[in-house]
Amino acid sequence: MILSHAQVLVVALPLLAVPICALLPGRRLPGVFATLVAWAVLALALLLMQEVSAAGVLRYQLGGWAPPWGIEYRLDRLAALVQLLLALIAAVVLPYAARSLSDEVGERSGGAFAALLLLLTGLLGIVATGDAFNVFVFLEISSLASYTLIALGRRRRALVASFRYLILGTVGATFFLIGLGLLYALTGTLNMDDLAARMPPLAGSPAATTALFFIVVGLGLKAAMFPLHQWLPDAYAEAPPAVSAFMAATSTKVALYALARFLFGVFGLQQLTEVPMLQEGLQWLAVAGMLGGSILALRAADIGRILALSSVAQVGYILLGFALLSTAGVAAGLVHLFNHALMKGALFLALGAMIHRCGGGELARLEGVGHRMPWTMAAFMVGALSLIGVPLTAGFVGKWYLVSAVIDQSAWWLVAAILVSSILSVFYLWRIVEVAYRRPAVMPPRAEAPLILLLPTMLLALANLLVGLNSSPLVSWAEAASLSLLGTGS
């Protein structure tokens, strides 16, 4: 019974838990409850992963109405991968948040964890659904939850960051809605598979191209695609650390997932290749992000901002993989999408632990933190190495496949861009490492983060190494996902 509904339950479970969580009293209880929910979601996601690997695509008709009349849930390899990622990050971050977030919000803990669960629900819903308008609804659920969570940051700047994100995020969602409206006017349907079936005759038409543009820009805003990234550095730097970690690892990833789904699963390769300058345009955007994000990160004075801007660069890598419009490129993008969540999760969690002890994330404040918190900093270093793309870490795997996919197309300037961006990442991360291991004049005593903060951080750092040591399962899964995604599109 539960098994046959697992596909819906994975979204419904956190949703059903929301009101309970909101009503739970005290500081700690809501966090513990939300953690249990996240672990249940992880169990379901693993179960679904198993089923998808056997069946290929799982479909579920909500309310019993067949698509395209009703809303369909559709879980293929791509969706299952991102779903697992979400569940994994939630399962690791929530115990961390149970300590760190509840300390920040105090008595409003119940509401904050309810918002966190809503964010999770929204993201899971985007991944699970096969209906284009349903994507919009869940996008808004996740967005409203994240505006709220960002505004809970310690400083008053968090409010401004949240407001600006609200404006830009809503513009993005509305752009998406415009694109969808045009698609609907052209095809009369909202189901993604049905849309894909009806797109080929429209390939290259002005209306379809405009729809494509608005959907890409709309989702690009959500994914912090350069130069639509302006909301992100402030948002990540000001949000409570646990929220930054969760969002950095998941929000942009889900927007990129939706982008891939629409680009390849709805419009399809044929349409994409017929739009003039589309591929070049996306590649330029990707490169601009890779370089622009890194260059901005070189000058940031706050570790949260440095990491956030590096996310802009990393989104560029993933987008570049997609923009190659090849199976290898999309697979590389997906591998990097997964791995980037692992590394940014680890980095932001480590940062959160430092903020917990040092009271802020400014570089100047964190002098000598490597001596004070050796284990936290070790986890940070692993994440940083992974971000640079050093072999034996997860970051290397994605970059390796990305470069291979780029070389396949003999696009040498892209190889150069990847390398320059990688070197820049060495420099901006080095600034942090150097400050962390510098000895301040007066050395405060060693004060490692509490175990409940340290353990999740170490776990994600370890995940980076594990994937770095053996990435075959991830790579083969991503390749199969990419193959089926591009196969159905053309």
């Binding site: 308008f133 407001f163 609200l166 513009v171 809605l177 409206g181 609907y184």
Partner: protein
């Protein structure tokens, strides 16, 4: 008989442009939200225009009506309106808090107060 053609859409585009411009150009946060609302309303109009069938009736089943307007965009926009007002409410709450924290809700003023 006037043939409207794409007339509805041109107005929709003009509305979108003015709403979006207001959102970008005006510094007052409440004005930004108003601009956002106009921008969203124009999208609602886009959907409803797509769903419109001339000489059709509102999609409420009646015995002797042959042609109805398309109900699906109506459903979508009902959802979108609610989403829009929810966003506005949250945005306004933020504006109130920002006013409390900074004493101003002007974006340019906020920018000058880096902290």
């Amino acid at each position: 008989m006037i043939d409207l053609g794409l007339y509805n859409y041109w107005i929709v585009i003009a509305l979108m442009m003015s709403g979006l411009y207001a959102l970008i150009a005006r510094g007052n946060l409440i004005r930004k939200l108003i601009g956002l609302n106009i921008f969203q309303a124009s999208v609602f109009l886009l959907y409803i225009s797509v769903g419109f069938v001339r000489d059709g009736a509102a999609p409420i089943l009646a015995p002797d009506v042959e042609s109805y307007s398309n109900p699906l965009p109506h459903v979508l926009i009902l959802t979108a309106i609610v989403v829009g007002v929810a966003t506005t409410a949250l945005g306004l709450a933020l504006a109130v808090r920002i006013h409390g924290a900074y004493g101003s809700i002007d974006d340019d003023v906020l920018d000058r107060q880096r902290d």
